[in-house]
Amino acid sequence: MANEITLERFSAIVEAYGASPARWPEAERGAAEAFAASSAEARSLLAAAGALDAALAAVPVEAPSAALAARLMAARPRAIAGAPAARPRSAFRELIDTIWPYGSPALPTGALAASIMLGIAVGSVSEISVLNEGLTAAEETEADDRLISLALADVAWPEEWMQ
């Protein structure tokens, strides 16, 4: 019979799992219980294992302290106030995200094209001259010199400040 076990196997089960059938491997439990009921040797093995089970049962279990529970509750994840709930993504959105995991390149490309077009349009309809508007040739040269000295002055400033 397939569900019969030998004394050797019964002994191995009791040696490993102890005397309580509840701890025995489920697949062999029925056969082992039947064997125990019919064998004096099996009962002797059970008595020896039962004594160790009783000793193991003497070790107490302390409940977790209230301080531990309080520390864990204090460290728990917090909900972000006002955070919108995640909406389920459509199949189309899933497909787009698969193709462009970092977003579609159409958006930055479109923004660049729009800014170029704006620059061309503004340049073509106005004559923008911030520095030289309404200046004579001599004044223009002087303004350029000032700009150059202003540009070079930033190298000298730190030295002046250190004196």
């Binding site: 491997p25 000793a55 193991l56 003497a58 070790v59 977790p64 520390r71 864990l72």
Partner: protein, 191 residues
């Protein structure tokens, strides 16, 4: 929420649901501390391990994949590995004077005292076992996990779990029998 599965509670924890955190602790914190206590041999270390386990739950809750593993098995695995890591680190720094003494003082007449002493002696004997034998006994005998769950947590075969359990129990019998003999001898000499 009381009827929610562990997977559902973990999902709620990820969203910052305090009640779900409380319920998850109510279900698993006691068992986690108990497992760590069997492994570490003292309550302070056991609570530190349990704290580390639950902080990992809080941190990784948003990445938990329902159905991929049983939450309680995962929790046992994390707790067991943390205990084994700590025990390995402690191994090099154990002071011989701080090792638990299997032979205790003369027991008092009070039965409660005797029960406490028996518990202390068995706990000390458990601490004498090699770490993996102790882990197998803690998971299988004390936590009541099946041999397949214990094998999964310890990453060994079911046969290897049986072997660890048999050797552990045999060693415990030897340790406790030796202690009993020594206790009887000490009583005879003091009488």
């Amino acid at each position: 929420m009381k009827e929610a599965s562990d997977d559902e509670l973990v999902a709620a924890v990820a969203k910052g649901d305090g009640a779900a955190c409380g319920l998850l602790m109510e279900r698993h914190l006691g068992r986690t501390v108990a497992l760590a206590r069997r492994m570490m041999g003292n309550q302070a270390d056991a609570e530190e391990v349990a704290q580390e386990v639950f902080l990992r739950v809080w941190t990784h809750a948003d990445r938990w994949e329902p159905g991929r593993a049983q939450f309680s098995t995962w929790l046992h695995r994390v707790a067991t590995n943390l205990c084994l890591d700590r025990l390995r680190r402690q191994r090099g720094t154990v002071d011989i004077d701080e090792m638990p003494n299997l032979v205790s003082e003369e027991p008092g007449p009070d039965r409660r005292l005797e029960a406490d002493e028996l518990a202390a002696r068995v706990e000390a004997a458990l601490q004498q076992l090699p770490e993996r034998q102790r882990a197998a006994i803690a998971l299988s005998h004390y936590q009541g996990l099946s041999n397949t769950e214990t094998a999964e947590i310890l990453e060994v075969s079911v046969e290897a779990v049986e072997s660890l359990l048999s050797r552990g129990r045999r060693q415990l019998r030897v340790l406790l029998a030796t202690e009993k003999d020594e206790l009887l001898r000490s009583r005879e000499t003091s009488a």
